[in-house]
């Protein structure tokens, strides 16, 4: 092997570079937020370390409710998303087991499964905006009810969006996180040979759903623990969805931090930093709480695994089909609502369709739209290409040097997804201002890369590792160098996963709100920041324009990613 290594001796640079790219901003960001939280911020006259700011934070009147709200909405959203994902995964794997597509429920499952990926690609903010239109007192659902059943002349006086308990916020998060967790579970199933276990379970007289819970779930859960943690951390610290759907007085902690930063009185930055440190603490505590709960559940339910109780699980079947359909339907009508609003001139309550259609909204915003869309495209494409380059380098290093996994376990990869964005991005912003790097394109792309790269790695790693090793081997024996094998054999054979991973990376970039806001220093405007900032206003038509375009971008990327390989390999039966 020594000889092959020489030809690819530059490869170890890839994992090192990638790790630096990750650890540098994250550690700098944590450092940059901790100092002001402890009172040290020379630019604002803080030269001493003290705990007064934390005392001030804890005495803040909004804090107790804000903390409660953050924990409640974050944990509830994660719990509901995970339960729904498990329910749906159990049913979807049943469908693939029997291969029987004749009955109605099975047909629903096929729709659910096909709808999954496009749903995941829709940015959080777009879903949240669309959902707000859907469930608002004057929203689509109530208009339909009014038309068909109730006949309300005026919108009912209900608080359905931005309700004080954060229920609409939880709904919005569940809508986005359930498909993500479901996809993670489905991707992990082949690794544990779930089909065989389900067959064994059924031959021992357990219903499909029971078999899944007792045999598959205990094996699959450890594989999706990190994604679950990422969902929990995200739900606790999300800003854009909370701005749109969350309560306002007081809001969740992450939104509260953002308000303090936006305060013209710069001394509020101390409070914001302390709040960001508290948010980090809450997130870590929640992750530990979750892990301990897993343990306790395991101890309590261990016996349940082997108590011999069998059942058909038909009720679960129906529940899964309904919830899956409800999720997809809500998401679909959310995005459709955005599109309709963007094309409406007049759409007063209680009409279920716009009275006058128009393309004027698009025309009026065309110039700023074009610029915003271009920035979005630019950042997304550049971040995705850099991430792809690094990830392919890391995976090649892994293969040629036969080292398994270039990241120290998956934890490093998940680090940016486990630490609250508001915490380390605020620290990065504070440092960047000092280093006069704030608002640079470099910093913007870098901050996006932190979130784009993990998803590209996670999407691409399995197909890359699973490529039949004899293809590169035979290429070598035919006299091809490692570089030629990469370009002539591996990249073409992996074209589809490469493009899908890029599209997902691009979608992740398009969806970023806080990184664009903080690292962009207000100088860069993307579809997401624009859509969220319009959300505070009342003009649904403008929100429709920006929100719909934001949802459209990742779809187009995904569509291309699926269409290009199909066209390229239209004459290759083994690849279609």
């Amino acid at each position: 092997m020594a000889t092959t290594l020489r030809a690819v001796s530059f490869l170890p640079a890839f994992p090192i570079l990638t790790k630096l790219l990750f650890l540098l901003p994250i550690s700098a960001g944590l450092f940059g937020v901790l100092l002001p939280a402890l009172g040290y911020f020379p630019d604002l006259g803080g030269n001493q370390f003290h705990f007064d700011i934390f005392r001030q934070l804890l005495e803040h009147p909004a804090l107790p409710y804000s903390v409660w709200l953050t924990l409640f909405s974050g944990i509830a959203a994660t719990l509901i998303s995970l339960s729904l994902a498990i329910l749906l995964a159990a049913m979807l794997s049943r469908e693939s087991l029997s291969g029987n597509n004749n009955n109605k429920i099975n047909r629903l499952f096929v729709i659910v499964r096909r709808g999954l990926i496009p749903l995941i690609a829709v940015p959080h903010a777009a879903i949240a905006l669309g959902l707000a239109f859907l469930i608002a007192p004057s929203g689509w659902i109530i208009r339909w009810f009014s038309l068909l059943v109730l006949g309300w002349e005026t919108p009912p006086e209900l608080v359905t969006v931005q309700d004080p308990f954060g229920l609409s916020l939880i709904f919005g998060l569940v809508l986005k996180e359930t498909p993500y967790l479901l996809l993670m579970i489905l991707a992990a199933l082949p690794q544990i040979r779930a089909r065989e276990y389900l067959r064994i379970g059924q031959s021992l007289g357990y219903g499909n759903f029971r078999s899944w819970l007792k045999l598959v779930l205990p094996q699959v859960y450890p594989l999706i623990r990190l994604p679950v943690f990422a969902v929990l951390a995200f739900s606790l610290s999300v800003v854009d969805v909370a701005l749109i759907l969350g309560p306002t007085t007081p809001p969740t902690l992450a939104v509260l931090i953002l308000r303090w930063i936006d305060n013209p009185d710069l001394s509020f930055r101390f409070l914001a930093s302390a709040g960001a440190v508290l948010l980090l603490g809450l997130t870590m505590a929640s992750l530990i709480f979750w892990r301990v709960s897993e343990w306790l559940l395991l101890i309590k339910w261990r016996n349940w695994l082997s108590n011999g109780k069998r059942g058909s699980g038909n009720e679960a079947n129906k529940l899964a089909a309904m919830s899956g359909f409800l999720l997809l339907g809500t998401a679909f009508f959310s995005v459709l609502g955005l599109a309709f609003w963007s094309l409406s001139l007049r759409w007063p309550y209680p009409h279920v369709l716009p009275q006058i259609w128009t393309q004027r909204n698009w025309e009026r915003h065309w110039n700023s739209l074009r610029e915003t869309a271009f920035t979005t495209l630019e950042v997304g494409v550049i971040a995705a290409v850099i991430a792809l380059f690094l990830v392919v380098g890391c995976l090649e290093n892994e293969q040629w040097r036969r080292v398994r996994f270039s990241f120290r376990s998956q934890w490093l990869l998940y680090l940016p997804l486990l630490i609250p964005q508001a915490t380390f991005l605020l620290g990065i912003q504070i440092l960047a201002v000092r280093l006069e790097m704030d608002g640079t394109f470099l910093l913007l792309v870098w901050s996006h890369l932190l979130f784009v790269l993990p998803y590209i790695f996670l999407t691409l790693a399995d197909p890359w590792r699973n490529l039949d090793a004899r293809f590169p081997q035979i290429g070598q024996c035919l006299g091809a160098s490692p570089l030629r094998i990469l370009f002539r054999i591996k990249l073409p054979l992996l074209l589809k996963p490469l493009l899908v991973a890029s599209a997902i990376g691009f979608a992740v970039s398009v969806a970023q709100y806080l990184p664009t806001l903080f690292a962009g220093g207000g100088r860069f405007v993307t579809l997401t920041t624009e859509a969220v900032s319009y959300a505070a206003g009342a003009d649904r038509r403008v929100i429709g324009v920006y929100g719909f375009l934001q949802a459209l971008f990742p779809w187009i990327a995904l569509l291309l990613a699926l269409a290009i390989p199909r066209w390229r390999f239209r004459n290759r039966a083994a690849l279609t």
Partner: protein, 210 residues
Amino acid sequence: MLKLENISLKIDGKPLFRALNLEVKAGQVMTMMGPSGCGKSSLLSHLCGTLPAIFQTSGKIWLNGRELNEVSPHERKLGILFQDDLLFPHLSVGENLAFALPQKIKRTERGEKIELALEEIELSGMSARDPASLSGGQRARVALMRTLLAEPEALLLDEPFSKLDQELRGRFRNLVFAHAEKKQLPTLLVTHDPIDAEAAGGDILALNRL
């Protein structure tokens, strides 16, 4: 001439078989037989230089007077055929063959060479075809031709006949041996089919697990 000197493979310090010493002369076929798991395929991978790092290896590999141990796999000039044809699914039949042609052959000549090669295996005019649309026997022949076009100095056969049905098997075996003979390649065949060994006509070596 392919020569192995004291070759041994170990996993966790345990050798897979007794240290090997052998010579295969130009145009000759040596057959290696042994139970599965005895390290036959790993030995061929080691000769190619593509053995995973979990193995510890010792001994020397010589090919026509060159010592191969420190040579990169893609410069060893050892052709290998596996059980599966492993035609690259994204390339056409002709492109698969062109992948193997040395770069020094000029563009104008390449097309001609490929057409000649296809004629030789009775697949004239099939250059643009999708490999997936060929029959098993046709694919096996393309795989053989692809290996030969890379101009190897020796041939390694890792049970390449075992997946073909009885009738194809005999014909493909004869084709492989005829080409090895014509090109005067030292050939090392790994198999557990005694009929393969008999047809090869050369020395037979039993490889046993230690």
